[in-house]
Symmetry: C2
Subunit: 423 residues, 2 copies
């Protein structure tokens, strides 16, 4: 029995009126988005099923679907013959042919650019190994611009339009001004990243947003495990930094600094200048330091991270005691922090990303057991810990989803395609 789920049924939202007032025009725009999101969550279905699920008259749903088809956002598919008495219905689904969103992630040792169509399918992907901290931010963003320009060209060749680009980076972001305020691992401070990328791309490029990597990652996890009910998860990603973000009641909660929760368990110095931060005991550096001597090639940053992690995973799988001991320590400290997240947020799902996901089979059972053992309240949420299945590019995918979100929020921003009348 989930406590968190009862909120809306019991007392509804406490939010103030002005954000909720609606007239008929906004009602229609809202309902277009509702239909589009429902298709994202539940996949191909008939208009009848949509109408039932949404509690709207079938005629209304048909009008909304026709509108979405004219905009190239929905297409008709197979006939629904399941259990049909009488005339079968034609199914409708998201149309992946015309629209995509682009995510461009700048990491410590790579740049990744991904384009996703409206259905969340990867339509373009490019990853470039790059020692970002050794470059000026101008040089790094110029490289990003090159890759995004390639991507725009490639999706254009496929007949698709990109509705937006999200630059995803570490650190603290001022989204309104498109500035990366502080990204310690890159040595960036007050970098006007959106403006620089826009300049590189020219005036005809789609809008550019900037997003924090943990928040982008949380978004990607949420939307690819789509339709999950309850609509929430806490995403925790392990890299040089440890970040995370929660999606609570279907909304991304920004601005967490979970890597810097202080437990006072040890006095390891953290990159932030303090001691005892969670990141200092479970971040990638702490793991590498525990698992291997400084001369070990797994410390060599000129080798791609995925390769170094693969090597450590092979050692663990082969029963290497030092690697296993390091993982056991990480698991303990990881569980300690996850327990605090559970105490504060009471989520039903925790998804681990970054290197935590790579070593999922050595970390998750232990963390799960720890969380199960310490539940006090019989009515508390039973939290389930899983590993991300999106790999190391999930933050870039989150950026691409974020770019598409504009459409799911208000499909009317996409113009009617004159050539795309319903058949």
């Amino acid at each position: 029995m989930r406590q968190g789920q009862q909120t809306s049924a019991g007392i509804g939202s406490l939010s103030p009126g002005h954000s909720e007032a609606a007239d008929k025009a906004s009602l229609r725009r809202n309902n277009l988005g509702v239909v589009l999101r429902r298709l994202r969550e539940s996949g191909e279905q008939s208009r009848t099923k949509l109408a039932t699920a949404l509690g709207l008259p079938k005629a209304t749903v048909s009008v909304l679907v026709a509108d979405l088809i004219r905009r190239g956002l929905v297409r008709e598919g197979e006939l629904d013959r399941a259990g049909a008495v009488g005339r079968p219905h034609r199914m409708v689904d998201l149309d992946g042919r015309w629209i995509c969103g682009i995510g461009a992630e700048v990491g410590v040792d790579h740049i990744t650019v991904i384009a996703l169509n409206l259905r969340g399918t990867v339509v373009h992907e490019e990853r470039l190994a790059l020692d970002v901290p050794s470059l000026t931010h101008q040089a790094a963003l110029h490289k990003v611009g090159d890759l995004v320009a390639d991507c725009l060209h490639a999706v254009g060749e496929q007949g698709m339009a990109a509705v937006g680009i999200t630059l995803v980076t570490q650190g603290s972001i001022d989204r309104d001004s498109g500035t990366v305020r502080v990204a310690v691992n890159f040595g960036w401070r007050d970098v006007p990243a959106c403006a620089e990328l826009r300049e590189r791309l020219g005036p005809h490029a789609p809008p550019v947003l900037v997003e924090n990597d943990a928040e982008g990652g949380a978004l990607a996890e949420y939307l690819t495990t789509g339709g999950a009910d309850p609509q929430e998860l806490v995403y925790v990603t392990g890299g040089i930094g440890v970040g995370g973000a929660g999606i609570l009641d279907g909304k991304l909660r920004r601005g967490s600094e979970i890597g810097h929760m202080r437990f006072g368990r040890d006095d390891r110095p953290c990159a932030c200048g303090r001691t005892g931060c969670w990141e200092a005991s479970v971040g990638l550096q702490a793991f590498l330091d525990r698992a291997a001597d400084p001369s070990d090639p797994v410390h060599d940053r000129s080798i791609d991270l995925a390769e170094r992690l693969g090597q450590l995973l092979a050692r663990a799988d082969a029963g290497d005691q030092r690697t296993l001991a390091a993982l056991a320590e990480i698991a303990d400290d990881l569980a300690l922090g996850l327990a605090v997240l559970v105490d504060v947020l009471n989520p039903s799902r925790i998804v681990l990303g970054g290197y935590f996901a790579v070593f999922g089979r050595y970390l998750i059972d232990k963390a799960q057991r720890h969380l199960d053992d310490r539940r006090i309240s019989p009515t508390a949420t039973h939290v389930v810990v899983t590993a991300s299945t999106l790999g190391l590019s999930n933050a870039a995918q989150g950026g691409a989803y974020l770019a598409l979100e504009t459409i799911f929020h208000d499909p009317s921003v996409v113009e009617v395609r004159e050539s795309q009348q319903p058949g």
Copy 2:
């Protein structure tokens, strides 16, 4: 610059469609609630001002207000002559005369029953000192029933109808079945509290809900500091137990167990059976143990808590070293936990309740300084810590607000009053 605030502007809600789809009937019900909530937040105002604030046509607002007047939820007031050119407008405001909600709190050493009218004004209050752990739960709930029956009678005499009763207790609550699952400080386990109270009150009593005290307290703080933007706060209350709840994006987040966050800072045993919980170092018992020998009357539970705390406050104000040292230690440990809440939730406001509020002047500055000093990100929320001004009855007030929330969510549940036509 607040990161948390940007969520809705940037990508809107990610929540699925089916909860948001709307037809015209639900649109009207929704807009009735929107008007009523706007009046709660912004107070008396003209229909014109309401229409502007809500982005609705003035004619629509006039129809909605007329409907609310017929239901006895809104009344006309003064003429608005402020800066008026032409005909002055008549102001409208919440009508406090007809409807109230009742909150009944069971504490370790008291029962408090409060009725609030639609305007949040206390229209009835009764507090009874009672050693609840020494009674059976039947006996305790029978006492609650007596006080609630008195309250129903008293508000009836004032011509008011109670729309609901919320029983507020410690511990973990199953709200669907109205059961208190575990309340360690009372020794309750699986107590069907709603059913027992309903039986005592008879078939004509209004609906009974049950709510956790920290969550009720959070609600009361949120609604009495009403209209605050952003719509969020984290409430942390100090008693024998330490509890808390967040209101995030205008929604109460349930099921936190913040008193049991483990920092590993010390090995004090906690009532939950574990060690190192935050509650064990900052709960009321830890404070009393630090501040006074066991023989000191401040430990005597037969004396009302407010009186014992008043005595300790007088000692602190007189410069008593032991009391001040105890408060300094509590402040340090309090700051440590608040910092974790900030790292995870990034709230803009923290409100301290219970004994933390009584000793606010000894705790808040230190906690605030600690939080200010450890901000990493320049874009992080500047959190402000304040003390609750609602006193020790704020959980009961939260219960009363919760009972009223049904009306604010859907005013159409209140019948039209035939005698109450607009004049």
